[in-house]
Structure formats: structure tokens, C-alpha cells
């Protein structure tokens, strides 16, 4: 251990660290643009200059290793003067277009202009003009004028995305960030440079100009794009998801997430393909009905069959709570053992985040004891042995074999957030909440249980009473405000639908929240033993390795 003094306070720190890392560990912020904990040190922004005793000149904290007895000053007069100078230089050619810039509100340069600059410019000459709206790739647009040449994106492309196509050309104040000729930055992880960029130079093609950051609420959740379960924030305005951003979790995804997860997993929540209300099929026509009627139709439909004739398909897209309630219903209420789920894989695991398993919860469904061998159910449907099927949130009919089999069924009940090939064949369709509308847990490929939280309100939820993250607009909207009237869907979490169905079939359950369901799940499933919503927290918790004890009679 090395003893160092930062701003007259003594700390014991690991001698391998740099000054900026040691200071960060002790909660002392040294301003920086180009330094990033997951990228190599470039040392080109000069913002992290600090005064170190016995060194003739100021030193950059990101590239100076800690030494025993080192005395560092981060707020001395010399340091402040240097910070002012660096900020003044950076702002010489940086356009003052914060009102137009999407980064405003979460911009490092903007924040530092308040914290570390004198707030005035002595530069009267014209600013340098450079290309605007330059597409680096399909998902990232560059505004070269705003770039402060920190090179974070260049290093990210080289070191993390392994697609080294970004570089600087020209010199001095004419420096331009660009791609190598005839290449584009189309890595599956390209959009991470948007958060990495300390200014508004790199913006998302998808989110550009959609909303100011302070208008949205942000909710901690988990990406449902694959079995990695990257930690994310869901950004919502007027009950509509506008963007997803990665949330740091060193055990799962570090600071990153893939473009596919970021762009491909929230648009279905906003519609327009959602199931708008429960419906049943009467004389080959879809008839929209209320919840009670739909539940009653599902219950009476299932009651018409013997328990051996009914099968259930759980879903790796649904939460553990939903699958547990479903399993409990099929075993205890219906009394069938024909329960399985379908796996969904595509491509291969890559070496950063992306997993071949495209479902967020396969590990959880397996931990509940549900197998993925659905072939026997498929065979028995084709044989005519199974005549009715109850399926959770999964588009089973996307698979042609299953589509043919579903057509042979006499009765099909489906939970689904969206209208799809399966709902086309169903007799009763119950609109299920999406991952962004409910509490629940998923188990990722590492067997890590992670929580999701509601960010979008359904018709029966109230943002304030149900503890949602609230933007200023959410707090104050009244009936005569148009911005309070974002679309709300009539959907319910699957565990609640299953509970209603159990009630309609004569078995009353008393779950009031997803947390209740999880508590019972944790009591009954050995892998989940001892876990509670509170202990899972924002970082997730690993499942226990089950020690199956053979019962002695």
C-alpha cells in the first residue's frame, strides 16, 4: 500500500493505481474528458491536470502512477488556472449550440463549463466550421464541430468493439474525426460511443432530436434482447419509451450494451401492434370482451377437457414470477404434467456481450424445473392426444411445425403483449404486460437473478401510487394537459392473469404483488432459496447451486 495525500487528506491506496483512479476511489472528482476506466489512457484532453509536490510542472492525473508519500493538490490556484485555460481552449471552437444539441443536460463539457471554467470567452474571431450530420455508421451520426478530440470513440472502436475504423485526420484546429475510406462504423456495439462521447458530437440516429433528457424519467431495468441481461435504464416521456441506455454493472455488461438490444427491444412496447384488450373467438370472429368474460371463457374452455388432454407452454420471455404462477396453475389447478418451454437461439455467442440464446429468462425457467423438450407435446398434439393448450408470452406459431400443430388444437389460450401468428390461431387472447410495464425477475446465462421495474404505465397503474420513476410532467399533468395523455394499454402481468384464471377455476390465490409471487417461488425452488427483491438490488444476485437432497421415506 502507498500512502498519498490528496487535498490535505491522507489515504492508503493500491500503488498500481493512477492518481485519478485513487482519487475516484476516495470520492474526489478530478475533471476529465478523455480518461475512461475501461479504455486505455490517452492523456490528450489535459483536463485532469493536478499539482504534485516535488514535480516541476502540473501532471495529468490519468497517466501518473501513485507513489508512496505523494502529495496531490486538485484544487490549488495553479490547478484552477490550468483548468480554466483548458476549458477556454476547448470552448474556442466548440459551437454554442446547446439549445440545439441533444447532449445538453448530460454533457460533460456543459457541466464542466459551470464547474471549472471562468464562464467567459476572450475569443472574438470566427469559429472553425466543420462537417455536420456526418454518418459514421448506420446508428451513429457525427457533428465534427462539437468534437473535442478526446479520442474515446477511437479507442472504443479499437479496444472494445475491435473494429478499428475511426481516426483523426488533419491537424491543429482543423482536426476531423472520420472513418477510414470505404469503411463505416457498423460494429454491433457502435452505439456505445454515444454515451462515451463527453459532448454532443456523436448522437443516435434513432433518438436524435426526439426529447430533452430532463423531460424523461429513467427506470433501472434489464435488457430482454438476449440471455446476457445487460443492465439498462429505460427512458420514458409521456408514457412512451424513447431510448434505452446501458447501466454499469461490472458483473454483467460493464458500461456497454449492443445496438440490437438498444434499438430492437423497446419499440414493440410503444405499439402499434399491441393486443389492445382481451378478446375471444366466437364463430370464427374476434370479439373484444372484458377481462372477466375472457377469463371465464378461458376457464370454461379448459374445464371441458380432461387433465391429460391439456398441455402448457411456459415462456423464456416471461419473468420467473409469471412462469412460477403458470407452473403452479398447470400442476395444482389443471393437474397436467405436460409443461415445457421453447428455446430461441440465433447466431453464436460473441466474445463481448451478445449471446446466442435470444431470450432473457431461459435459465429461470429451467431453474423452476420446466424442461425445454417440447417435442413430446408437439407430437401428442399432432396425435390428437393433447387437445387444448395454454401458452405464455411466446410466438409459438413463428415455428412452422408448431403453427401446423396449433391449428389442430380444439382450444388455445394465449397470453401475449402483441398480436402475432400465435394470437391469430388462439381462442382466447389475454393481453400481457411487457417487461417495461411490470415488476419481475429474469435469470441470465450466468444464473444471475436481476430485477425489472415498471417504466410504462398500463391502464390500471398510477405512476405516483405505484412508485414509478416520475418526470416533472408525470408529476403535474392534469386532465386538460395533452402531454399527460400518453397511450396506456389494457394489459396485466401474466402472473396476475394466471391468478384470475385459477380463481375462475375454483382455486383462490392471494398474491397481490410480483414480490409475493417471488417470495413463494424462493420458498419452493431450491436455487432461489433465501433470495428476496431487496437482496437482489440493482446489481443482481447469483442463484444458489442446488444441492438436491433425496428424500428418505
Amino acid at each position: 500500500m502507498a500512502t498519498i495525500t490528496i487535498d490535505e487528506k491522507k489515504f492508503e491506496v493500491d500503488p498500481q493505481l493512477t492518481v485519478i483512479q485513487a482519487a475516484a476511489q476516495q470520492g474526489i472528482e478530478i475533471p476529465h474528458f478523455c480518461y475512461h476506466p475501461k479504455l486505455s489512457v490517452a492523456g490528450n484532453c489535459r483536463m485532469c491536470l493536478v499539482e504534485i509536490e516535488k514535480m516541476p510542472k502540473l501532471a495529468i492525473a490519468c497517466a501518473t502512477q501513485v507513489a508512496d508519500g505523494m502529495v496531490v493538490k486538485t484544487r490549488s490556484e495553479r490547478v484552477l488556472k490550468a483548468q480554466h485555460a483548458v476549458m477556454e481552449f476547448l470552448l474556442i471552437n466548440h459551437p454554442l449550440d446547446c439549445p440545439i444539441c441533444d447532449e445538453a443536460g448530460e454533457c460533460k463539457l456543459q457541466d464542466y463549463a459551470y464547474k471549472y471554467s471562468i464562464g467567459a470567452s476572450r475569443f472574438d474571431e470566427d469559429k472553425v466550421h466543420k462537417p455536420k450530420r456526418y454518418p459514421l455508421g448506420p446508428n451513429v451520426i457525427l457533428d465534427v464541430e462539437r468534437c473535442i478530440m478526446c479520442s474515446r470513440c477511437v479507442r472504443f472502436a479499437d479496444e472494445i468493439a475491435h473494429q478499428p475504423v475511426l481516426t483523426f485526420t488533419q491537424r491543429g484546429d482543423h482536426v476531423v474525426l472520420t472513418t477510414f475510406p470505404e469503411t463505416q462504423f457498423d460494429s454491433p456495439y457502435s452505439m456505445n460511443v454515444i454515451e462515451l462521447c463527453p459532448v454532443g458530437a456523436l448522437t443516435s440516429t434513432d433518438f436524435r432530436f426526439r426529447a430533452r433528457v430532463w423531460e424523461m424519467s429513467s427506470t433501472e431495468s434489464v435488457c430482454v434482447g438476449c440471455a446476457r441481461g445487460c443492465n439498462i435504464n429505460i427512458w420514458v416521456r409521456n408514457n412512451e419509451i424513447l431510448r434505452l441506455t446501458p447501466r454499469q454493472n461490472e458483473d454483467v455488461n460493464s458500461f456497454w450494451m449492443c445496438d440490437e438490444g438498444r434499438l430492437g427491444t423497446f419499440k414493440f412496447v410503444n405499439g402499434p401492434g399491441r393486443v389492445s384488450s382481451p378478446w375471444i373467438r366466437k364463430d370464427d370472429r374476434k370479439v373484444t370482451v372484458g377481462w372477466d368474460e375472457a377469463i371465464a371463457a378461458a376457464a370454461s374452455g379448459l374445464k371441458a377437457f380432461k387433465k391429460g388432454e391439456i398441455a402448457g407452454l411456459a415462456s423464456a420471455y416471461a419473468t420467473n414470477e409469471d412462469n412460477f404462477a403458470f407452473l403452479k396453475f398447470m400442476r395444482d389447478v389443471v393437474g397436467t404434467k405436460a409443461i415445457a418451454f421453447l428455446e430461441h437461439t440465433a447466431g453464436e455467442d460473441d466474445d463481448l456481450l451478445i449471446r446466442a440464446d435470444k431470450t432473457p429468462n431461459a435459465g429461470g425457467v429451467r431453474a423452476l424445473g420446466i424442461g425445454s423438450n417440447a417435442d413430446s407435446i408437439l407430437r401428442r398434439i399432432n396425435d390428437g392426444a393433447i387437445r387444448a393448450l395454454y401458452a405464455l408470452e411466446d410466438d409459438i406459431a413463428a415455428n412452422p411445425d408448431w403453427k401446423n400443430a396449433l391449428a389442430k388444437l380444439e382450444f388455445l389460450v394465449v397470453h401475449s403483449p402483441v398480436e402475432n401468428a400465435t394470437t391469430e390461431l388462439a381462442d382466447v387472447v389475454l393481453p400481457a404486460s411487457t417487461y417495461a410495464e411490470k415488476h419481475g425477475t429474469f435469470v441470465n446465462f450466468q444464473k444471475r437473478v436481476q430485477r425489472i421495474r415498471p417504466a410504462v404505465a398500463t391502464t390500471e397503474q398510477d405512476r405516483a401510487l405505484d412508485g414509478f420513476a416520475m418526470s416533472r410532467w408525470d408529476k403535474f399533468a392534469s386532465h386538460n394537459d395533452r402531454w399527460g395523455k400518453g397511450p396506456r394499454r389494457d394489459a396485466r402481468p401474466s402472473w396476475r392473469i394466471v391468478q384470475s384464471l385459477a380463481g375462475a377455476m375454483g382455486t383462490k390465490w392471494k398474491f397481490t404483488t410480483a414480490e409475493n409471487v417471488f417470495a413463494e417461488l424462493a420458498e419452493n425452488v431450491p436455487e432461489f432459496k433465501g433470495l428476496r427483491y431487496l437482496s437482489i438490488g440493482t446489481r443482481g444476485a447469483l442463484l444458489r447451486t442446488p444441492q438436491r437432497v433425496t428424500e428418505k421415506a
Binding site: 446547446c98 439549445p99 440545439i100 445538453a104 455536420k132 450530420r133 436524435r208 432530436f209 426526439r210 426529447a211 430533452r212 430532463w214 423531460e215 416533472r472 410532467w473 403535474f476 386538460n480 394537459d481 395533452r482 402531454w483
Partner: protein, 166 residues
């Protein structure tokens, strides 16, 4: 009023005040004189009040060269203490890059404080001299761009006033 409830006057009324008639005449004299003073009442709606440049009437959006100056930064919406303003931005091919696809002011919420005008970095939203606001429903009170946009020629007075008192 004293503590024991007895009425105390600084001065008792004089004889002439007590007989009442002269005081009435004094009052009538004042009323009669007002007939010959400059008239303040305006015969609205036949005649209309022209407010001074400092007047804060309903907020409007300045239209210059056929487009709004507004870049949809949303600062007016953020600063508005009554949350009257909703802005939805989008991209434009113009140099300003960003424009308000939707700009709505709920005039039932607006309190005419002028903060939106003060915060605007583009002098795009300013307080006009218009004070006649009549709605028959809540929906009608939400003014969109169609009602808010005003050509710059019509609001020169206010812009000059703002420049003078910046």
C-alpha cells in the same frame, strides 16, 4: 377603539360637518369636476386599448422568412412555472437543424409571467400585446403553431423593447 370600548376621535366633527349638507355639496363638486377631466374609460369593444411595449400579452412565436425562429430547445417548457408549454422537436434540413414539430401552449395554464421570453436563446418566443383570449372549451385553449406563429413585422415593437432593456 379604546380598551373599554369607548369611541375616541382625534377631533370631534365641526358644526358644519355635523349639519351634513355642505359636505354633500363638496362631494358633488368633485363628481361634477370629473365630467370635465380626460376620460380614462375606453368604449370596448368599439375602441381598443393599445398597450405599451412593456405589456405582457399572450406569448407568440416569431416567424422570420417564413419559418419559426424556434429551435425547439425546450427551455421555455422547462422554465415555465405553470407547465403550460409542450414542445416536440424534430430534424430540419435548414441550418438550424432542429425545429418544433409541435409547439403548444395551454393558455388555461399560462400565467403571463414572461419567463419563456426571458429564457429563450433565440428570441423566438416573446410576449405580444394581444390580450383578447376567449375559449369555449379546454381543448380550444391549447394553442398550436397555427395560432402562435406571428410574422416578425408585427412584433418589432416588442423586440426593440427587449433589445433596449437587455
Amino acid at each position: 377603539m379604546s380598551q373599554n370600548g369607548k369611541m375616541i376621535r382625534k377631533e370631534d366633527l365641526s358644526f358644519w360637518q355635523r349639519i351634513y349638507i355642505p359636505e354633500i355639496l363638496k362631494g358633488l363638486r368633485l363628481t361634477f369636476m370629473a365630467l370635465f377631466r380626460r376620460k380614462i374609460t375606453i368604449q370596448y369593444p368599439e375602441k381598443r386599448f393599445t398597450p405599451p411595449d412593456s405589456f405582457r400579452g399572450r406569448p407568440v412565436l416569431v416567424e422570420e422568412n417564413g419559418v419559426e425562429r424556434c429551435v425547439a430547445c425546450g427551455l421555455c417548457s422547462r422554465v415555465c412555472p405553470a407547465l403550460a408549454i409542450e414542445v416536440q422537436a424534430n430534424e430540419t434540413a435548414l441550418e438550424k437543424e432542429r425545429y418544433p414539430e409541435k409547439f403548444e401552449i395551454n393558455m388555461v395554464r399560462c400565467i403571463f409571467c414572461g419567463f419563456c421570453e426571458e429564457v429563450c436563446p433565440e428570441e423566438a418566443i416573446i410576449m405580444s400585446k394581444e390580450y383578447e383570449l376567449v375559449f369555449e372549451s379546454q381543448e380550444e385553449a391549447v394553442f398550436g403553431k397555427d395560432k402562435l406563429l406571428v410574422p416578425i413585422e408585427k412584433v418589432r415593437d416588442r423586440l426593440e423593447f427587449l433589445h433596449k432593456h437587455r
